[in-house]
Amino acid sequence: MDKPAVRHKLLSFFNSYFFAEVNPHKLGLIRILLVGLTLLQTASRYYLMHRITSLGPAFDVLHTPSHLLKLLAVPFPLPPELQLPFAIGYYLVGCCAMVGLFTRPALVLFGLANIYVFDVQYATGVFDHEMGLVSQVLLVLAFAPGTMAFSVDRLIGWLLHKKSLTTTQPLYHFLPGPRVPVWGLRLIMILLACTYFTAGFSKIRYGGIQWVDGKTLAHYLNGQASPNIAGHRPIFMGPAVVPADKKWKDGFGIYTYSWGNKQRNVSRMEIGKFIASNRFIITALSIATVIFELSSILLLTSGWPKLLYLVGAIAMHQTIGFLMDLRFLKFQLLCLLLIDWQWVYRTLLSGFNKVVARRQARTSSLG
């Protein structure tokens, strides 16, 4: 095939993959439910944002913002006198984003506000990996077509059109909005795929292929990494053999820290210990985890591969939540909302119809 033909084929694929039109319902639902869950979870942890305020000028020197917030040149951490206005503003823009009032500006502000809150948390030591992706998704929603589906803005638009007699559409037709290019949903899917892929890639990068032998996962499930079990549990670690040039600080050479198992439920911890003690199960789980994460490109396909990956991701988070109390509820919600339920319905209906037709054919041939 000559170059212009290849280029034409690639362009056609790119156009149909990113710019084919879809109903905007999914984006509207993601906006409402993801923003709602983010508001609930942030409120339960941060309430009136007292935990992200400045601890004092001396500490502020150490608590530095991320590159993105440095570009925005905002006070960091939050000055105490701005705590209440920020909290009020956060919940106000969040509610506006959720119901869809001044939808896009509200989503931009809510996305940036979440980046701010969780960047302050990171500046004090803990990177919220779930909110890393979710805050990006909120910003994608601010720019993607179709986000205003099921919004108060669309309701106001319908009322204005009805008043000026420029529409005869009933509200339930008007509220979702017209069909839109699919690129917003594709971008969210790509970001999700990148997140899962890099999680798997990091295991190989930092742990090597030996990560799949099960010993690492066993450490996290057998109680050794649990801060909820009595006893001193040092979290920093390094390999047995460290090159001499890496020991200058302390004579040891510390590489990283372990991440901890937050589970407090005794029976779930016992299940974790049983799994950790079974060489076959823990190795199979480790191999499955890495293969699953590295296969996230399936999210960019359609049909059964994409569906199975999304269901698999939900199952993986459910398992991690059960064993380690790291539930990643927003990831689970996002995966659930990204399932093409119309395709599932059509496929199941088609399968059901085929089964019925085969049975009828068999009955009539016997008759």
């Binding site: 150490l62 790509i190 460290v242």
Partner: protein, 170 residues
Amino acid sequence: MKATQKVYAVSVMVAFLLPNLYVMYSGHESFPFTHAPMFAHYIDETTLFYDFEFIGQKGHQETFLYPSYESPLPSKDRVIRRFFFNKVYGSMEASSFSHFEHDTQEQFIRRLELFFASYFGYLQHDTLGIQTVRLEVHQYNADYQLTEKHTLGYFDVSTGKFQYTWTNRQ
């Protein structure tokens, strides 16, 4: 779809994807971009574990300040430990998310001085009368049994200086 709309779409996608791909490549997190390094490092029976200890000294009297140090700080031990490692101490693994490129002893000491002055600033007014804070690093085997301890140095509360005493000849 109009060409301008396509240009807009591609610009937005590139704006989101580029920093993510860069962080995935470089291994250095910057919120909200991450390469998801959680649970990634290999742990087996040969892995060595470590902990830091900050011990307040007044003459021959010693007070254990960390991991359970006093208020006014609202932080929990696990938070301060991760912060201390990520932002002050630094990883010796070149590809790690908390590695300081081309780190030197002078830069390390300066970070320690900033940290100690901030987190132990309350000692200036504390009735315990602590004069120095000794920083130790303890090594443990995979069963969390102590195998070795090294003293890195002393932070002088009144001068705000960290005297780094560890040498690799020890």
